[in-house]
């Protein structure tokens, strides 16, 4: 029972990582006042670029670099449409998601001729497990030993990176000058402008950070969690991440918990399939598969209370004349 719970929590951490990275990406973008529906698309191009590069060059790190590059390019396009040309941010995000979905399938099919998939990545082209110091030695210690060995040790480096970015983001947002300005530009861009700080530059910086983080999230999907790219492999994770951000009320630490919650539902989902629950019997697979999505709808509708997004979020900044 204890070991089952441990392995459930272990997969929760694995599944939460891409959600967390994408949600933090959304945090920077939306705190700066740029709505980011395109998390999904950025993750998808990153997953594809990372897997394709890793498959050709055999290096997970090169893959990560390519993933980040691809995602940042899309982020720049989003910025160009929303910041420079003051376009509709939601429409831009949706457009980028659709472009990403089509482009990865077309390029994947043309380059690898495997119906849009990339070849399976060998172990050294992926991010492997990191065994933390003393994990083996302490494994025998009752309770704490397995906890440390199973749950805390044995993830790949990107998982630890994602977890480290949570406190880092908190520190940047609430303890640095950049963070103060970032939050201000999402609430009242006119004030920031009056203070002589460029709204455009700040928003581009935020959008670029979002691109970087989505790049890591996408690379994680195809070169750490999985071993290759499949068409539409993000399957709504970008939207779940966005929901987690809303549920976390645009704050880094609550967002982490929201991501863990969604990931837990997802981990539970794979385990519940074909299991008869006491008193209920076997639940249809499809209902269990829809669990994370149903949970999102219910949580957003019932438990957020009044979710207040950053005030200027979704609005392009137009200087008064």
């Amino acid at each position: 029972m204890f070991l089952t719970l441990l392995s459930l929590l272990d997969s929760t951490v694995r599944l939460a990582t891409p959600l967390l990275l994408a949600a933090l990406a959304g945090f920077y973008s939306e705190r700066a006042g740029v709505v980011d529906i395109g998390l999904e698309g950025k993750m998808l191009v990153a997953a594809f670029a990372a897997a394709a590069t890793a498959a050709i060059h055999g290096s997970a790190w090169l893959g990560l670099g390519a993933g980040i590059l691809a995602s940042v390019m899309l982020a720049l396009l989003h910025g160009f449409a929303c910041i420079t040309h003051k376009g509709n941010q939601v429409v831009s995000g949706v457009a980028l998601n659709i472009v990403a979905l089509g482009l990865t399938a077309v390029l994947g099919n043309a380059w690898f001729e495997m119906g849009g998939r990339t070849p399976n990545l060998p172990a050294d082209a992926r991010f492997g497990e990191v065994t933390l110091p003393l994990a083996e030695a302490l494994r025998g210690v009752p309770l704490l030993g397995p906890l440390y060995y199973e749950l805390i040790s044995g993830h790949n480096i990107l998982v630890y990176l994602a977890l480290a970015i949570v406190p880092l983001t908190w520190w940047i947002a609430y303890r640095t000058r950049f963070g103060l300005r970032l939050r201000a530009v999402g609430e009242n861009p006119a004030a920031v402008d009056t203070a002589g700080i460029s709204v455009t530059k700040l928003r581009y910086q935020a959008v670029l950070i979002a691109g970087l983080l989505c790049g890591i999230a996408g690379a994680y999907l195809s070169t750490a969690q999985g071993a290759g790219f499949q068409t539409n492999m993000t399957a709504g994770k970008g939207f779940l991440a966005l929901a987690a951000l809303i549920l976390g009320k645009w704050k880094p630490v609550p967002t982490l918990f929201a991501c863990l919650l969604f990931a837990f539902a997802d981990a539970l989902q794979t385990r519940l399939q074909g299991v008869a629950l006491p008193g209920i019997g076997e639940v249809p697979v499809q209902l269990i598969e829809a669990l994370p999505y149903l949970l999102t709808v219910l949580l957003l509708a019932g438990f957020v209370g009044k979710a207040t997004p950053p005030k200027a979020s979704g609005r392009p900044y137009v200087k008064d004349r």
Binding site: V94, V99, G102, V106, V285, Q286, A290, Y293, V297
Partner: protein
Amino acid sequence: MSAGAGSDNLPWWATGLLLPVVNVTLALLVSALVIFAIGEDPVGALGTMLRGAVGTGEGLGYTLYYATSLIFTALAVAIAFHGGLFNIGGEGQAYIGGLGVGLVLLALPGWPWWAALPLSVLGGAAFGALWAAIPGWLQAYRGSHIVITTIMFNFIASSLMVYLMVNVLIKPGQMSPESEAFSASLFLPMMADMMAAIGVEMSSSPLNFSLFLALLACVGVWAFIWHTRWGFALRATGANENAALYAGIDPKRVIVITMALSGALAGLLGVNELHGVQHRLMLNFPAGLGFTGIAVALMGRNHPAGIIPAALLFGALYQGGTELVFDYPTISRELVVVIQGVVILFAGALEHMFRPALVRLFSRRPAVAASKPAGA
């Protein structure tokens, strides 16, 4: 969301015709770059698409058949847009709407098609409306984000349909998850057969009676949005919720009703696909046409008169894309998806990029014309 001509005094044909043409040209150029990048000949590929879409009677029929479905999903997006709502759940609403169509037709074996059609339309509209009204209600009364809930509802619809098809509606003793076929008397007449009846020869294609229904829906939506009290309330809410409130309109109610109407229109896709062509309930029949509706609505500037040509264009892209896959094994169907995305980008998000250039172009020309007589 920038419906209508705007305040910069561009002539109607510049916003209505020139801008869309510029957007589509750019989208095709970007797609040509993609084709070039995978080592194929863009000119040849676009030629193949064009020939496949409009070069033969059969191709043209397929183009019109896809356009029929797209008119429904684009009208759905457009009506929501006018109400200030971005409904990207058309795919799921079309899917559940199709369930309504299927259930009605499975319940009416042996009925003549013309008697069953109003009921199948009603079934599709009602199921689609319900599936959209829930996110609408959640947005209006619980403050959920409509974009996220409608996306989630797409996923939930897909799971629900798999469950129903595999466990409930599957024809017994069959492997693939399809329902029993509707009885043959229910099938909507095919356009080729209707034309043959009045002596016009036409290649056979899935184009069917639903096309008339789609055109009727265009007229209906136009009349509703611009010529009824309800349509006014809808546009007022879309333009400014607070102002609408002071004008005695209940924006929350309007939001739910707008979404229901939007979902009802999306649900009619099921009439074309299932009642018209597949003649049974099956998995994945909306096949992305719900999403393409977004591109069609944006290109058509959310007006029925714009949506019809935009739907034709995208119908042609779909059909041309199918042809392309036959001729170029390295190019996959998803190229059409790329084109859609780029059109949404240019026509929707980057619409302000070309507008000022056009405004400059048009504000200069009359001035030049006016100065000429003075100079001469």
